[in-house]
Amino acid sequence: MNRLRALFLLPAWAFTLLLFLGPLLIIVAYSLRTKGVYGGVGPPWTLENYVRLFDPLYGVILLRSFLMAAVSTLGCLALAFPLAYYIARSGRRKTLLLNLVMLPFWTSFLVRTYAWMFLLRDTGLINSALLAAGLITEPLPLLYNDGAVIVGLIYGYLPFAVLPLYSNLERLDKSLLEAAADLGARPSQTLLHIVLPLTAPGLRAAGVLVFIPCLGAYLTPDLLGGGKSMMIGNLVQNQFTSARDWPFGSALSLALMAIVMFLLWTLLRRDGGEML
């Protein structure tokens, strides 16, 4: 039986090695090379690209990416926790309510980001409505700033927070809450002393699962932030296109990749196989 199974793994191995792990290795190699005169990659070998990660010029963007991802993650958790709690307690409508969260998520990331451009741009719905109502005389600068990017990130990755919280809250034994109430705890005390400690693994998973894509976001800051709200992903893209500095772009990518893997590793080490 094992021979057939091993054979079945071959195609997946081929794709993974040639088009995922292999490319990552090439990026590792490029990150240790020097930018050529015409934008190519050439000798000598160097660690210079990694040193440049700490250049304040890029440091600002790295720091901003972290902050934006952190704020977006907190926003997602704040929206997702009550939502997941409500869904987990809604009996037969659970599936429907959960699908209503997931459906827009799976359809089209690009369209969903565009929906916010449609709302926020100078000639967008919000500004048009406010102008028509005479509340403002000039359009508000709603698009192309950090706020717009954060809203877009929360909007984009909210389901990543809802799912782990939901599966955690769903397993929460309702009689525990009743027992707490029975022993004299007010609802806020029950939430603080019973629900939150018991859903800590779900909160951690939700936090990491939202933080990772937020930190590596490209499309959202690109469309909603314009050039004004750059994140790491945009910097990477920039190095590979207009700046034509592939070695530095590679080093940036690997730094981002390292953070992603470290976060996942800590999560898996703590909460074990619950994730997969």
């Binding site: 997946a12 565009y114 709302l119």
Partner: protein, 253 residues
Amino acid sequence: MKQRLLPLYVVSVYAFLHVPLLILCAFSFNSSRFTVWESFSLVWYRAMWNDAALAEATWNSLLIALASTVIATAVGTLAAYGLWKKNARLLAGSLYLSLVTPEIITGIALLATFQWAFRYFQLQLGMHTVILAHVTFSIAYVLLVVMVRLRTADPALEEAALDLGATEWQAFRLVTLPMLRPGIAAAALLAFTVSFDDYVITSLVAGVDSETLPMMLYAMARRGANPVVSAISTVILVGLGALILASERLQKS
């Protein structure tokens, strides 16, 4: 939490999720080019319908999604079966890692690889590189969906087949594969959706002849307000939404 506060909060979150999309769809039927409602009209849909470049991009997207779905579904299903009991942590780990790797990194890594390889072969970026890239990121989605199905499967079923005289291949083809069919169909629909919608990776590995619908949509969105984009968005939302609903149903069956 107070009994009335929570439902109110939940309703607002659902509004946050759905209202922006509903507004976008609604205004695609507006006769005015501006975001002030005038009257119901299909003028933007007509403009969309008559746009030859758009038709070409849609055709490209469909071809790419179809080809990558077929390949990724086959590869992913075989891999899920292979990983079912045989432990291959490196492969499983790599596939899961590919799910969480920021798209921009997958994209530039593939771009760098293709560029590097093309120095040795007389090839260029085009439909084939897009399809290869899409297969690579779709395999993990297929794997996840099929694995869920396999996890609930009784390993004794295959043993029973072997016990009754079936070879390993027959046990797979006659017992496990029919059992997995709804899961495989769900996985294929999902793979089609993620492929059809992808912009970031596609834009990096596409050639001159392989502009896709998302690439075109992106360019139009950046250029400024254009109600045709709303019309295209509406069509995409409805189309992909239907596929996802079908996939959900299959997964639950």
